[in-house]
């Protein structure tokens, strides 16, 4: 008998000689993913307005599905019957599902945390239901994503006091229950989630406890809410210092370009965020200097593409003026701007990876910030965070 086959292997390809950034090859059952990686969110078994083949053409390697939504519709049994979410949505590369807990707390008004699980009133038929760690894993086993997440006790990142302590300890206990309930460890990788609010001691304790469990990877959770960036980067860097180097680190819910660049420098490998696609549906296109609100009158006769250097279908074919004329009116404009925004995120991550491989990531960071903030009014938290890993944005003499 051999030991259970691992469903994840992480090979560190290069490490930045200055920051904590690293480039890895993460091999999962459906694809090998280059990290640092951004994972677009396809909540209900589709990335809004984009086909899986188009995503592949944009070199997207892994995307998210939401367990809360998929568990409700079409339901885990149906997904299992058709051979998993990969088959259902015809996506050949990697998938990651969350635990459903976050949506439970953010979308469902009546929910209550108990030791057993999250008790909630179904918004669909008003029945009282319970999402336990075991149930979450059962659903995620049916969905069949390459990476699945433990159910954690989510508290708002701005909550303080005993509730945060309770949530942190409970999350550790729930990880143990998830590990026990996980039926397909050879096909799916269960990640633990480091909690602990904005309290350095709690985070440290949680991370240390999590690391004792031999799961294939770890996420840093509870930091995509309304907390100040001042706290975010401190919690992130503290966590990556404790988490083992040979396992991937996933910073949940973070996806603004600036945050990505900083948090890669702090040692994170994986990111997800609905922002690039959600903002596309409101007609906002991402560029390195920020974003373009295509609805704005100023684009009515602007004959440039969104980004002259971008190779996406949208930038190859359409001007800002044409997009202005259809944006928010014709639904195909959502697809076009989403295609661009995903291409933007993919290019950003690929540029980051290349600069790490060539060991010029610090210079990349400086160039990136100068393009985003031409007047050098850099956000203080970013300056501090980068200072902590040896990249000094405001120091003119060190290049």
């Amino acid at each position: 008998m051999t030991a259970a086959r691992s469903a994840l292997s992480l090979k560190i390809v290069s490490e930045c000689s200055v920051t904590k950034a690293r480039c890895c090859k993460m091999t999962l059952p459906h694809h090998t993913v280059d990290t640092p990686v951004f994972m677009p969110v396809g909540t209900q078994g589709t990335l809004k307005g984009i086909t899986p083949e188009q995503l592949e053409e944009l070199d997207c390697q892994i995307m998210l599905g939401n367990t809360y939504h998929l568990g409700h519709r079409p339901g885990p049994k149906l997904i299992n019957e058709i051979g998993g979410l990969h088959n259902f949505m015809q996506w050949k590369r990697c998938l990651l599902t969350d635990s459903g807990g976050f949506q439970m707390v953010s979308l469902v008004k009546l929910s209550e945390m108990t030791e057993e699980g999250v008790k909630f009133v179904s918004p669909h038929d008003n029945s009282v239901m319970m999402l336990t760690p075991e149930k979450s894993i059962e659903i995620q086993n049916d969905i069949g994503a390459d990476i699945i997440m433990q159910l954690d006790d989510v508290v708002s990142s701005t909550t303080t006091g005993s509730r945060v302590v309770e949530a942190m300890h409970r999350s550790v206990r729930w990880l143990d229950r998830c590990i026990k309930a996980h039926k397909r460890p050879d096909k799916q990788n269960l990640f633990g989630i480091v909690q602990g609010g904005l309290d350095a001691e709690l985070r440290t304790e949680c991370a240390k406890e999590m690391v004792k469990r031999d799961v294939p990877g770890f996420a840093i959770g509870g930091l995509s809410g309304g907390e100040e960036k001042y706290h975010l980067w401190r919690m992130v860097t503290l966590s990556t210092d404790i988490l083992p180097k040979h396992k991937p680190r996933y910073l949940m819910g973070v996806g603004f370009a600036v945050d990505l660049v900083v948090c890669v420098a702090l040692g994170c490998d994986m990111f997800d965020c609905v922002y690039p696609t959600r903002t596309a549906r409101f007609g906002r296109a991402l560029v390195r200097s920020g974003q373009l609100q295509l609805k704005n009158q100023r684009y009515v006769a602007d004959m440039r593409p969104i980004d002259a250097d971008c190779k996406c279908l949208t930038c190859r074919n359409y001007t800002r003026a044409f997009l202005h004329s259809i944006v928010t009116h014709e639904s195909v404009s959502c697809s076009l701007v989403s295609l661009h925004n995903i291409a933007f995120q993919m290019k950003l991550m690929s540029d980051i990876r290349q600069s790490i491989r060539e060991d010029r990531f610090p210079q990349f960071i400086r160039d990136f910030f100068l393009e985003m903030y031409p007047t050098k009014k850099y956000p203080e938290w970013a300056v501090d965070a980068l200072d902590s890993v040896g990249v000094h944005l405001n120091d003119e003499f060190i290049q």
Binding site: T51, P74, F88, I326, L339
Partner: protein, 413 residues
């Protein structure tokens, strides 16, 4: 300038060829009967151009109604090739027209000098001067003369007569401006035939329009477009159409917008119509329906498909919103070779519909375009092989059995 070559006539049905389409490569020709790709704002609905290009039998003509072009023309004017450059439709022939066959046209909105067009910004009153300025900016390959098509079954004789007269006057004014226009000198101008259900007015309109130097004819004004066009039965007016096409020269193409279901298309083909639009697949898509009628003369429809068509409240399509498809892992249409049917199940499209995901419309538009384009290809092949009557019988056998259709079934065009 476009030329139309009539290659074969069977009964009233015509097999033709559109050539010398200056904006396509010189060897490209377009066979008729054909349907155009419906666009909104110069772009196909829901489907991005990479996906559109994958659809088999994709017609190279983009149908561009004026109402969806709010203010585009101001920008398009800046391009040498007008809308074609602006909307990145380089590999398409652009046909620009006044009304949108997918949108209901409110009645009694036109007056002596203006035509009401209903766009994003509500009602716009367009004079012939404005119309021609817009067309100069758009710079279409073909376009319609300005026309008053506000007519339906219930229109008064007076209204119909007015529509005919105004439309002829607009045509003369458009022709005059067209001939002076440098930008429109390579564009083909189509005259519009009006007259509602009145034989006398229809024949007069056809006769008079045929006297003018137009490149083709557009027959409209039977209904006010939009959902009302779905109740329009070509079989009710096939004799009227036959009478009026007698007045038209054989060497010019005839277009009829807003003809929906496949049985109506075949009636119109039999009456001598060459060019159609794609309002029908667009409507079906907007409602979450997939076209599933069987037009293959080789393959019999599977029993399962026959059953679902028969039970469907709409003819020729199935409604994928229906909960019966929740766990149906068969393709949208068994045997279909489209991008969607090669990959996805009814269950998945149903899921996308109940969760109101954008991808539902994208996938359905691809399938429905593919199916409708394939149907037109079959019409052309059937005309060549002299088997159009078999296709007609096959399509008619799939109509839901209502009282009125039973009588019509025996009445072959």
């Amino acid at each position: 300038m476009m030329r139309f070559i009539l290659s074969k006539v069977t009964g009233g049905a015509r097999l033709g060829l559109l050539t010398e389409l200056q904006s396509l490569s010189s060897s490209t020709t377009i066979e008729t009967p054909m349907c155009m790709v419906y666009t909104r704002g110069g772009i196909a609905p829901f489907v991005t151009k990479d996906l559109l290009a994958k659809i088999a039998n994709l017609p190279k003509v983009a149908h561009v109604p004026l109402n969806t072009l709010t203010r585009h023309h101001e920008t398009a004017a800046k391009f040498e090739n007008g809308l074609k450059d602006f909307a990145a439709m380089h590999d398409f022939i652009v046909y620009s027209c006044v009304q949108d066959s997918t949108e209901q046209m409110p009645v009694f909105q036109n007056d002596k000098t203006t035509i009401a067009v209903w766009g994003r910004a509500g009602k716009q009153k367009v004079t012939v001067d404005e119309y021609m300025r817009i067309q100069e900016s758009v710079k279409p390959d073909w376009y319609q003369a300005l026309c008053d098509s506000d007519a339906n079954k219930d229109s008064s004789k007076k209204r119909l007569r007015k529509g005919v007269e105004r439309t002829l006057n607009y045509l003369d004014e458009c022709l005059e401006k067209h001939n002076k226009s440098e930008r429109l000198k390579a564009s083909a101008l189509f005259g519009v035939l009006e007259g509602g259900f009145q034989r006398q007015d229809r024949v007069f309109s056809a006769k008079e329009t045929a006297k003018r130097p137009v490149a083709g004819f557009c027959i409209e004004g039977f209904d006010n477009f939009g959902p009302s066009a779905e109740h329009f039965q070509v079989s009710d007016i096939k004799h009227l159409i036959k009478d009026l096409v007698m007045e038209l020269p054989a060497d010019k193409p005839r277009m009829m917008p807003g003809v929906m279901t496949p049985d109506n298309v075949l009636e119109a083909v039999n009456a001598g119509i060459d060019i159609f639009d794609t309002a029908y697949p667009y409507f079906a898509t907007s409602r979450g329906c997939a076209l599933v009628f069987n037009y293959s003369l080789e393959n019999e429809s599977s029993e399962e498909n026959k059953m679902s068509i028969k039970e469907s409240p709409k003819p020729f399509q199935i409604d994928l919103n229906d909960d019966r498809y929740t766990g149906d892992f068969s393709p949208v249409l068994e045997g279909c070779t489209c991008y969607v049917c090669q990959r996805y199940t009814k269950a998945y499209v149903h899921h996308l519909l109940v969760t109101t995901e954008l991808l539902a419309s994208i996938l359905l538009m691809i399938h429905n375009f593919h199916h409708y384009f394939g149907f037109f290809e079959e019409i052309r092949q059937s005309l060549k092989a002299e088997r159009l009557d078999r296709l007609y019988t096959k399509i008619h056998a799939q109509r839901p059995k209502t009282e009125s259709s039973v009588t019509k079934d025996n009445d072959l065009g």
